[in-house]
Amino acid sequence: MSSGLNRLTDLEKPATEDARLKRIQTALKRYDARPDALIEILHIVEESYGYVPLWMMALLAKEMKVPPSRIYGVVTFYHFFSLKPKGEHTCVVCTGTACHVRGSQRVLNDIEDEFSVRAGETTPDGKLGLQTARCLGCCSLGPVTVIDNEIIPKSEPEKIVALIHEKAGI
C-alpha cells in the first residue's frame, strides 16, 4: 500500500463526463465546497465510482481548497475508501429510492445469484467487484447500473447479467 509514487499524469481528468461527475458537482454545490465536507463528498465519490480516483482527488483539492496531501491522507486513513477499483471490473447498482421503486433490487439479486458475490464484495477470482450506491443523480433513467465506466439506464436484470458476462469474460 505504501510503496509506489503517483505521477502527475495520474491526476488528469478523463475526457468523458457522466452522471457520476455531475452528482459530485451537485454535492460540491450543496456543501458550498466547504473543506469540512470533505468526508461527505468522498463518501459520495466512493459510492459512485467504487473507489476514489486520483484525478477526482485532484479535482476536489482544487474545488474545495484542501491541500492534496490532506485528501490523500484522509482517503488512505479510512478503510472505507479505496484507491483502486475493487475488482478487475466493477458493477455499481443504484439502490436509491427512485431506482429501488423501479426494481433495482431484482437487478442486484440476479447479479448476486449469478456471480455468487454479495454487494460490497469481489468475486474470488477478482474479476468482478459489486457495489451499491444510493442515488447516482439520474433517477429518471432508473434503475441505473454502472458497469466499469458505462452507465446503463433502465437496467433489466437479464440484460445486466448478460452484459457482465460479456464485459468481464466470466
Partner: protein
C-alpha cells in the same frame, strides 16, 4: 489576561496560566522533559508520547505537550514508572523503522540518537520490524529517507503552519503510515513546495536531509526555524 494559578510539579509550586500546556509550564520553570514530536511554536500533537507525566488522581499517564494546566494539579515528571515507559517508547520507535546510526547521514547530529543516550537505551527488547522503505531523492535540494522517519509530523506542521505551503501530510495508518508530499508524488514533482527547507531543519532524524550532506557530516539548524517562529509571534 486570565488569572493565573498555581500547580505543583515535582512538589514544587509553579505558576500557570489557563490555556497553557503542562509542557509550556515545565519549560518556563526549567523542568526538563523528554520531547520528540514537539517543536516550540508548532501546534502540539502528542505523537511520540515521550513527554508522558503522572498527574495525581488521574489513573493514566498523559502527554505534557497536549495536556492543559488546571488549578490544583499535582504533576510528577520523574518516577520509576515514567522512566520505564519512556525507555519502552524510545525502543519501540527504534524498532519500527531502520535506524542504523553508523551508516546514517545524521550520525551524531540526530535528536533521536541523542534521546536514546539520554534515556539510557542500551538495547532494544522488541523485534525490529525492518520495513522496506522508500528513499525519495527527486527533489533538487533535499532527500526524504522513510527508513529514518519517526512520524513525528514536525515537517508536516512546519510546512503548513509556518511556511504555509501545506505540501506534506501523513497517509495510511499503523505500519503503513508514511509522510507524503501532495498526492503521494515524488517530492520533486510537487508544485506546492517552495524548497524553503524548513521541514529539513526541524526533522529530528536523518529522514530529511540536504542531498549534499556527507555521511555523519550533517548540519541542521532548527534554531533558525525556532527564531523565525518567535519573530512571527512577536510581530505587532
Amino acid at each position: 489576561m486570565n488569572a493565573s494559578f498555581t500547580i505543583t510539579i515535582d512538589n514544587q509550586s509553579v505558576e500557570a496560566t489557563p490555556g497553557e500546556s503542562l509542557l509550556e509550564v515545565c519549560r518556563k520553570a526549567n523542568i526538563p522533559l523528554p520531547v520528540m514530536c514537539d517543536f516550540k511554536g508548532l501546534s502540539p500533537v502528542g505523537a511520540c508520547r515521550l513527554c508522558l507525566v503522572e498527574i495525581e488522581g488521574v489513573p493514566k499517564l498523559l502527554p505534557a505537550c497536549t495536556t492543559l494546566v488546571a488549578p490544583n494539579q499535582a504533576v510528577h515528571t520523574q518516577s520509576d514508572k515514567l522512566r520505564k515507559y519512556r525507555r519502552m517508547i524510545i525502543e519501540l520507535i527504534f524498532s519500527e523503522r531502520n535506524h542504523i546510526c553508523a551508516i546514517c547521514v545524521a550520525n551524531n547530529n540526530c535528536e533521536l540518537q541523542k534521546m536514546a543516550y539520554e534515556l539510557g537505551m542500551d538495547h532494544v527488547r522488541f523485534p525490529y520490524l525492518t520495513p522496506v522503505c522508500e528513499v525519495d531523492a527527486s527533489h533538487e535540494k533535499y532527500v526524504m529517507d522513510h527508513n529514518r522517519c519517526i512520524l513525528c509530523t514536525r515537517c508536516v506542521r512546519v510546512c503548513s503552519e509556518i511556511e504555509g505551503a501545506m505540501t506534506r501530510d501523513v497517509m495510511g495508518r499503523g505500519f503503513d503510515a508514511r509522510i507524503i508530499t501532495e498526492f503521494k508524488q515524488p517530492w520533486g514533482d510537487s508544485t506546492g513546495c517552495t524548497s524553503c527547507g524548513k521541514c529539513v531543519q526541524v526533522c529530528p532524524t536523518g529522514a530529511l536531509t540536504p542531498n549534499d550532506a556527507a555521511q555523519g557530516r550533517l548540519k541542521k539548524n532548527p534554531e533558525l526555524v525556532a527564531l523565525l517562529i518567535e519573530k512571527r509571534e512577536a510581530k505587532p
